[in-house]
Assembly symmetry: none
Homo-oligomer: 209 residues x 4
DNA sequence: GATGAATGAGGCTTCATTCAT
DNA sequence: CATGAATGAAGCCTCATTCAT
């Protein structure tokens, strides 16, 4: 009757929530939102329907949570990469693209959720996904604005969209191919980065790795 | 054995089928595949469940038909544009991009179906959609290969994906914005075309309209 | 404007009706009543839905017509056999059983309709089928009554049912087996006839063929 | 992790399942497989569609379950009867027939399901039903083989089918008659048993009860 | 008479969500 | 907090039947 929530309980709580979330990410990534049913998630997580609705408001909610987790993972990966890239903006951008491609290539389920499976899911989720993508787009836009002087004039908002679209679509296409016919991830990343950098008129030196 | 199929009957048949297909495209474009139900389609087309299944095998089937119609419309638009662009490949490519952007901007429902709503829908539809997008990608790839000598070396397959992705994502982003805040379609098209052409290393002259 | 119905027309009419009926019998016999759809019947008969409903009131109607055709074929086969069997009643009965078994074995589709597929089909058809079977049962009952003196006392109505049931069930069972594992039809007929004759207490001499 | 399945829950589960199954048996027996719809079953059982599909895979499944329940009831009735009949095989057979007839006469819905309504329902159900009937047939066959020496030579497999068919058809016929015109069940059973025993050439003594 | 397009009632089934234990 | 049985709305689809040509 003493403590309502001991530390151990909190831990367990998180553990169960995570188990559900992890299972959900795997299933969403493999089968998509609609083909993934709540019963399947709870089965995969060795949990129960009741628990599911204790931790998540509904199916949309866990999908949104999944998107957020993915978004955070990506942010982290990008930030680390950028931090390691030194102060030069174009170099940071190149590094960021490559980090993003690598992340998506290494986490195909997350990639599918982000790029493919979260389309056409109703306003709420579309918004969550949009924000995620938009945060990338905005980063690109910021960067471009910061070095505006070094580059030819351009419609930065549109260019930022193109930049992100180029990454997503080509990774998507790459993921759709049978693994044994894929270009090595490194080359894919390099090719995309070059495409984008050239597209914004980066000087020749930064195009090579 | 008397009356076979009179021309008038054939006409009506086509009309009915088209009514269903048109209604379906509108709904798919607005609400997506899953939120569009067969009852809603038949209601919008002033038809009946029975007729629906007389003309289409099932819901997937009409979606595939919709994608095909869209694909054909786009092909036609692109071919016309390219034909009018003269013999120079890079100029053709620029024209094609702009024609595509214009088409998508003018047909937002079709655009949504193509870009967003047809992802993550199961193998059959994914294939149809893939073929459609792939046909664009391949066209780009062909063009790039044809003028390989004039351009810096590149991973053409990846570049083609980037090219298409840049178009789709930026148009999508544009469509998501409230109409009164949108860049004029012409400028959008111009910006995307420039992005892509610069990305493949086109000489400065072709970058301007 | 002269004759409303020429003989040739009557002929054609019959021909089309027969085509439908024949196709229906084949399909009913193979797939059963419910799995046989009107579209399938008209397709198999190279006819049309409209014609179907011109010649038959509805699906039940054509099934009833099929049962009648089958009943008539069987009656004819039995009458011929009995006529050829001479005046002795028990010999007639034995002949009749064997003729029935042969007919069913030779016409498996008709047999399936009569024995299997027409069960559980609603009052109307059950009645038609029942009358058919009942007419056999009654024949048996008549015969038994006619020679009451030569046989041990028995509940003739029940015995007649048993007699018919023995035939149907064993033919049914026989039909269900793969053709290459079946007893030859002649032996089957013989075995059933013996069973029934012995069951009514027929003297030893008539048990053999 | 606290409360697992309490005994009370298991009890309720069984109760709910049984309610559905019982309602289904009644409806199947009265209206047949096709005329019995899932909504009707759940209404009769005061349950819900969801529960139905929680306990049974589909409509076929509950029909199969019904057949199994019926089969078990019959087996039990027969085994009890046989056990009480002493060691003599022919006497056991006579007892078994009478027990079966009594069971069917006492359970007309179950009888209809077994004899009539389960024919022509597709492979799966046909198999279940076949196995049920076949188990009777085989019992008869075993018995006949066991006492082969005391009986005239015969095609035991065919004879077993005849035996079962005689029972089913005559009970069916009996059930079809209005209750007030029916022979008392005891006499029916006696008549059928005599028919079958005489048919296999049983000596006169066992023919009487 | 013949044709086949059109209709719509109604069946089966799934699954997100709730709630008693 | 955990469990899983229960619910029922709603979707997809089939098919017997009608009717305009």
């Amino acid at each position: 009757m003493a403590y309502r929530t001991t530390p151990k309980m909190v831990e367990r709580k998180q553990a169960r929530r995570n188990a559900l979330l992890t299972a959900a990410i795997r299933l969403f990534g493999r089968k998509g939102f609609h083909a993934t049913t709540v019963p399947k998630i709870v089965a995969a997580a060795h949990s129960s329907t009741g628990s599911f609705y204790f931790y998540f408001k509904n199916k949309e909610d866990i999908f949104a949570a999944a998107l957020e987790v993915i978004g955070e993972s990506i942010s982290q990966a990008l930030n680390e990469a950028i931090a390691a890239a030194g102060p030069e903006v174009l170099r940071q951008m190149r590094t960021a693209v490559k980090a993003l491609v690598r992340f998506l290539a290494d986490h195909p389920e997350e990639a599918r959720i982000l790029i493919i499976e979260s389309s056409g899911l109703g306003k709420r989720l579309e918004t969550v996904r949009r924000n995620l993508v938009a945060s990338h787009t905005r980063s690109v836009e910021h960067a471009l604005t910061a070095i505006r002087g070094q580059l030819p004039p351009m419609e930065t908002a549109v260019v930022a969209s193109c930049w992100v679209g180029a990454v997503y679509e080509s990774v998507f296409h790459w993921l759709e191919q049978p693994p044994d016919q894929r270009l090595p991830a490194g080359q894919l990343a390099q090719a995309i980065a070059s495409f984008n950098l050239r597209a914004v008129g980066a000087p020749r030196e930064v195009l090579q790795e």
